[in-house]
């Protein structure tokens, strides 16, 4: 499998590709139910993660809830 470079949570990162966002989460060991995904500043809803392809240079943000006031 080849690789591509994306910007993941602000850091350049090489990930296996071609891949969907769901593949990326699996690669990172993340449960899709516990994170929210933004691709190039647009939220990708959970049902669409498996049909949304990653491309070289994409900016991906993975967020979740942490302690806060």
């Amino acid at each position: 499998m080849s690789e591509m470079e994306i910007v993941l949570n602000g850091e350049p990162r090489r990930v296996p590709g071609p891949a969907t966002l769901l593949d990326l989460l699996a690669h990172l060991g993340l449960d899709p139910r516990t994170v929210v995904v933004e691709l190039n500043r647009e939220i990708v809803r959970r049902p669409r993660l498996g049909e949304t392809a990653l491309a070289q240079g994409d900016a991906v943000e993975l967020v979740h809830f942490v302690g806060g006031g």
Binding site: L8, N9, V36, I43, H64, V66, G68, G69
Partner: protein, 268 residues
């Protein structure tokens, strides 16, 4: 221990309604800055709070396992209120609020748009802009604001589900600095007024509730107490005590003494 109040409450108080939801507890708590997660969970349980605030942050890709708050706190047990803490512009706050909503728990957001790093006081212009946009989006907005009546009125007009004026700056523990301002906001608004930030100890919470506000949100007062669980109990009782004292209606203040025992029947 809490049964005395729990027994008295239903007859004396009504549930707190925010954005079409109903809550028994008028105390809301944050989940930040605790020394450890187990202590946080016990303190939140002790507080009796139903609404618990959380922040939206990047997943730490190096150690994801126990980073998320939901590994410690059950989303079935609490009403999760996401905040936009750390946001300094309306656009940034809107982005965080949308991400929070996408997490899928509810449409509520505690909107913060901060204007100054030293005081963390709100940027009221950005706050109003973000509130209007998020209300258009269908969010139930609880807006963290200062103790200014005009901003509070505008937030209500913008369609906010609740307005959250501060007692004093976030994390300061200075207590209620402007009781007049908070009373005025409460008197003039129809939506719930929840005092957010600045409460340091139980007496602060009690005095704040005595102003007639609908509830209090606090975090640091519990997290930084020497014993957060004990402080959570203290705050729970203080909020109940202040609320009941407000509903009971206090006696008038007088500049002179009035004897409590009969003046007649004294020996000659």
């Amino acid at each position: 221990m809490s049964n005395i109040l729990a027994g008295a409450e239903p007859a004396l108080d009504t549930p707190l309604a925010i954005g079409g939801r109903s809550f028994r507890s008028r105390l809301m708590v944050g989940t930040g800055k605790y020394r450890d997660n187990a202590e946080m969970v016990r303190a939140i349980e002790a507080s009796g709070a139903e609404i618990v605030t959380v922040a939206v942050r990047r997943v730490d890709l190096d150690r994801t396992r126990d980073q998320g708050i939901l590994y410690h706190l059950s989303a079935d047990q609490y009403f999760l209120l996401a905040n936009t803490a750390g946001c300094y512009t309306a656009d940034e706050a809107i982005r965080y609020a949308r991400l929070a909503r996408e997490a899928g728990f509810n449409e509520f957001v505690k909107l913060e748009v901060i204007g100054d790093r030293e005081t963390l006081l709100p940027d009221t212009e950005g706050l109003l802009a973000a509130a209007r946009e998020l209300v258009r989006d269908g969010c139930k907005v609880l807006a963290y604001t200062n103790d200014d009546l005009i901003t509070a009125l505008r937030l209500e007009q913008a369609g906010c589900a609740a307005v959250m004026p501060l007692a004093s700056p976030i994390g300061s523990g200075l207590g209620l600095l402007n009781p007049y301002g908070i009373r005025t906001i409460k008197r003039r608004l129809s939506v719930p007024v929840i005092v957010d930030a600045g409460v340091g100890t139980a007496s602060d919470a009690c005095v704040t509730m005595e102003q007639g506000v609908d509830g209090i949100l606090m975090n640091t007062a519990l997290a930084e107490a020497r014993d957060p669980v004990a402080m959570a109990w203290a705050m729970r009782w203080a909020v109940d005590a202040g609320r009941l004292a407000y509903l009971a209606g206090r006696m008038p203040r007088r500049e002179v003494a009035v004897p409590s025992s009969p003046e007649r029947g004294m020996l000659s």
